[in-house]
Symmetry: C2
Subunit: 362 residues, 2 copies
């Protein structure tokens, strides 16, 4: 996963994708924050004009942890909100080694060639701590980044999954206001990243892979049931038979789950990111799902639920953090845990002792 | 599900199970709260002596919502805590119609005949609202209730799942202090009951059934992955072939999931509550699991995690309720939801507006 400070990549993207929209300014200078600050309205107009450079800068603002940047960012988002929503949002997850980057590259390239305006984002809560990707995939999306209709952005870093998720959602708003009609969000299968991604997309794709006996078991609990579709990747070369057998296994397993709320029956499709076979079938399945859920009303209902979900997630996180991040409470919590584990007091009494202590401190 | 106020059933249980331990008092009078109040120490000593009648009264105290009862109940629990923990706790879930009651009756009877001291509890958050069970199963555990080593208790009612879960956990403490070595907890598959039950047991059994094509799909998302074992019930008569085929399907599906934290591979076992075939195999599987997890340390680790989990669940519920149950906040929350859904403000800003309003009110 590219780290935001990898200037070379940024410059590559800016020059390839935005140069026709730039004012007559040295393209390398546009990457650095302009000394004259853009106002929220400037960002908004640039975004609405499809200026990728300004979009990139606005996203950087959104990702920034500086309070002054956040003030402008929130204004930009507010201006963009009425123009957001008009895209298909697809989440893509899979175990390390499933070939997510290669798959996104193959799919993304096909989409751009078909005239789509594609934004590729990522949710990786570890990006703050690590210098690069924790995934095995070292190849990044070289071919896709040369597409003029593609905007690729690594994960924001935010100190918590909640922060990363929020910034990603806000970036989606900006991208949609800029005219991107297809948003792909890659998750890295760590912690609850998939749940966060699932809660901000219309369609959740699970990328599976087979090649050795073990790989089928790599998916985390609960992810298979979250998927709106499953793609068995690396269905090529010597692997074709195994991939097809895996497809049958997953199809049978899916039949054991209850019907999804959307009314949709997930499909399992074999594909290869190398020869692109099946990639269009995967996309066709996504389009069919979107048409199906728009027709039966689930699409709108789902987006409504997601918006509410994020409001409540933000509230709940703040309410709990007030307690758990209180430095006085830390030692008391540690002590209470020990008492519970030694069977000295019940979990319930321990909890209420802590809450009483907390309320006295406020 | 029996409602606690169904006196006839209570009297039947008390007379059948506790009469040899009673002081010379009219057995029907023991059901009613004694005019002279028992102290916490009285309850504790009665429980430790295996006095089922006093155990029943103590559980009634625990289930009571009266503050004065709660004070005594918490003291009794504190006295019992050092003597708790020495049992196998098994959760049993399944769709309505899976035959949970009949299965528990069959299993429970076998266990009692093998010399076990069995407590059968239930988690049913709807018991407060409904006069009886929401399940299709009307037969209750008539045969089991005649076993002298069995203590059967319907679900407490508490106004919330959290309350029901807490009272059930506290009842487990009392039962274990009274010498019960096997605790079965039935859940009714509503809301998050299974998650609550799963978080207080050592082994979680999913009871499945087949007879028509649809029943295989009845399980809620996430439950199959929670199960430490699956029993395919009603494997008798005309249903044997279908039950065996279902067993193969579930076994194959389980192979697609990642290894469980315990290191255990869940089994799928066919059984019949009518002719008891397979019931002992199900129990053997549970015993094997317990031995396996005690040996590799997971058993203790899991109980530790559960104790901590309940402490944090209690704290979190209190922190959130302070906000959501505040009557001033209700209207503000409703208004904020509308603004978010109309794309007027972002979920994030809506959340923070509400939090600001809440903090000013405090």
């Amino acid at each position: 996963m590219e780290h935001p400070e990898n200037d070379k990549k940024y410059k590559g993207l800016t020059v390839n994708q935005g140069v026709q929209n730039l004012p007559s300014v040295n393209p390398y200078a546009t990457f650095r924050r302009c000394k004259r600050s853009l106002s929220a309205e400037d960002y908004f107009h640039g975004i609405r004009n499809g200026d990728i450079s300004i979009l990139g800068q606005a996203v950087t603002l959104v990702e920034s942890n500086l309070p002054s940047d956040q003030v402008i960012a929130q204004k930009v988002i507010e201006l963009c909100l009425p123009f957001a929503g008009n895209s298909i949002r697809v989440g893509i997850t899979g175990v390390p080694g499933a070939g997510k980057s290669t798959f996104i590259e193959a799919l993304g390239t096909e989409l751009c060639q078909a005239g789509k305006h594609l934004a590729v984002l990522a949710i990786d809560p570890s990006s703050e701590k690590s210098k690069g990707s924790i995934l095995g995939d070292k190849t990044r999306m070289n071919e896709l980044s040369t597409q003029t209709n593609a905007f690729i952005r690594p994960s924001p870093s935010a100190g918590s999954l909640g922060g990363v998720a929020r910034k990603t959602r806000e970036t989606i708003v900006l991208c949609e206001a800029a005219g991107f009609d297809t948003i792909l969000i890659e998750t890295v299968g760590v912690g609850q990243s998939e749940t966060a991604a699932h809660s901000m997309v219309d369609y959740f794709l699970l990328l599976q892979v087979t090649g050795t006996g073990d790989e089928l078991q790599g998916i985390k609990r609960g992810i298979m049931e979250m998927a709106d579709g499953i793609a068995i990747n690396k269905c090529d070369g010597n692997n074709i038979e195994r991939a097809r057998a895996a497809r049958v296994s997953f199809k049978n397993a899916l039949m054991l789950f209850p019907p999804s709320e959307s009314g949709w029956t997930p499909e399992v499709i074999c594909c290869s990111s190398i020869d692109h076979s099946g990639v269009q079938d995967v996309w066709k399945n996504i389009e069919d799902y979107i048409a199906f859920t728009k027709k039966n009303g689930y699409f709108e209902h789902h987006r409504t639920e997601q918006s509410k979900y994020w409001m409540y997630e933000t509230i709940n996180a703040a309410l709990l953090n007030g307690f758990y991040q209180n430095t006085d409470m830390e030692k008391l919590i540690e002590k209470a845990e020990k008492q519970v584990l030694n069977n000295e007091i019940s979990s319930f009494i321990a909890a209420h002792n802590l809450l009483d202590a907390y309320n006295k401190k406020k």
